[in-house]
Symmetry: C2
Subunit: 315 residues, 2 copies
């Protein structure tokens, strides 16, 4: 069993690629829920949606979020009625939010709601929220502590980030499907998808059971760098790295994760960084990492899986 840690666009694409090269029983994707929030009374889980939609092949590739072939009549009517319109919800996408909110309201755990929706979308691999209970990413900025979506969508990451906090993570209840992966010997390798290290991967690792599992591991951890040529493929990762005094590069990212990652997958454009990472004792694979298209994601996934299988943890 290979376990992917994922959030956002890069996470969805990597997870979709892995799902094309691994059988349903050979892959589980643990997804960040730190972005989740309540909006207009609806429970939104943007990262779960990105991963589900991308794995199901219904994501809008150009926009990077939501569904392909989307329409926006709900949004126009919400604006007309004076409802909050800063977070855009497509008409098709809304069905997922309404249904999830409805099922959660009936007492189903988030993991079961995700399983049902995934099954209806034709996703055959396990997609698991990192927690059943709310964990909420908060951003410390020069303008005070902001809720994640306020920072990320409403303010478009403009405020300078000083740090991140994951409210609720200490007491987070981990889904049964995730707990099963934590049993020693169950997981053969972990893939950290090319997701934002601060707001996609850090919330997952802030959950004590997951952090401990990674710290005590006997399996290799492979990470795909979301930083290519000094910039994030998508999103604010590079900007945040700079703001927090880290070098926005594959090598900076390797230093950020330190011994948590055994093997790095780095883009060809970052060959110099790859050598620096290798000098620090990590295994490195250099390849094309930008997944513009399902085919490229699949090719990258094959490389990542082969790399993970080739590594045996020395520690």
């Amino acid at each position: 069993m290979i376990v992917a840690l994922a959030g956002g666009v890069g996470g969805g694409r990597m997870a979709a690629g892995l799902s094309r090269v691994l059988p349903p029983r050979g892959l589980a994707v643990i997804v960040n829920t730190g972005d989740d929030f309540e909006h207009l009374g609806l429970h939104l889980s943007p990262d779960l949606d990105s991963v589900l939609y991308t794995m199901a092949g219904v994501a809008d590739a150009r926009r990077g979020w939501g569904r392909a072939g989307e329409s926006w009549n709900f949004m126009s009517a919400i604006g007309e009625l004076g409802g909050a319109a800063w977070f855009r919800l497509g008409d098709r996408d809304l069905a997922l939010h309404v249904l999830r909110t409805h099922l959660l309201g009936r007492g189903l755990p988030l993991s079961e709601v995700t399983r049902r929706i995934g099954a209806r979308l034709g996703v055959r691999h396990a997609v698991l929220p990192m927690a059943e209970t709310p964990v909420r990413t908060r951003v410390r900025t020069a303008r005070g502590v902001l809720d994640f979506q306020d920072y990320f969508v409403r303010r478009q990451c403009r405020p300078r980030a000083r740090g991140f906090h994951f409210a609720g993570s200490r007491a987070a209840r981990v889904p049964r499907g995730v707990r099963r992966l934590l049993v020693p010997g169950r997981t053969r390798a972990v893939v950290i998808c090319p997701s934002n290290p601060y707001v996609s991967i850090a919330p997952i690792l802030s959950v004590p059971a997951l952090r401990d599992w990674m710290a005590r591991r006997a399996f290799p951890v492979v990470a795909v760098s979301p930083i290519v040529g000094g910039a994030a493929v998508k999103g604010p990762a590079a900007k945040i790295m700079r703001e927090l005094g880290e070098e926005p590069s594959a090598a900076g990212l390797a230093r950020h994760y330190g011994p948590l990652v055994d093997g790095w997958v780095v883009d060809r454009r970052d060959a110099a960084h790859a050598r620096a990472i290798a000098r620090e004792g990590h295994a490195v694979v250099v390849t094309d990492t930008v997944m513009d298209g399902a085919r490229k994601a699949e090719v990258l996934a094959r490389t990542v899986v082969a790399f993970a299988r080739s590594l045996t943890r020395s520690g």
Copy 2:
């Protein structure tokens, strides 16, 4: 102040007509909420919506419910995800349901939610739910007791009706805006819109405060017959009248309401019924009552208002 009792398509059209001939402070519409229900976790108020949309001029006239220029992508995605799809919700319409549910969840009373939404839609006259608290119409049928929308939409009124019950009406809390209308001397006349007597008007009159107000009234009550030429203009009123052993005609309707109505407005096609109603001591006006178009609704409203003003209650 003229007070209209309304529900459904006919109620919405009559209310819209009245709003074109009476100033904002001269008309209040009390709307049936017995059709309200929870669906996919959303609070739906179909009659409030019909009245608001029609008064705002955004209703779909042909379909008879929902908004004009509607799209259905939410419905197609809900079906795909395995959610209940028997009650159709348009993409624009959904904004109202989501917003109402959200505001109710934040603790606002239904009347205040309705006022805010009406104001955003440009409705300047008071549109008031008959109750703040849930009143739910249940239908006794040969197939047992059915929730209203199960009977009305899912089963399309096919089961034979044996009677109606309005759960929650005895303990219903009446909105402040309605209570103000009940103060003696405040209401000059009541107009019973051409709405279904069993499922639109009866629930309103099942609320004790409203029933008592009507029983002890010093103002005239004028009703517009929803039965024209032996059939309902829209909906199952005639079918239900037959099932309950009443004559599906304007005269049968006058017997149904008895002394609750002082003056009847009857369609030209029902002149014979008009004479029968007059013989039983009611005032009657014969005119065109079918409101196919806003202009016709306005003409009818003028007639209804003049008729109401001409009546002085004798009892």
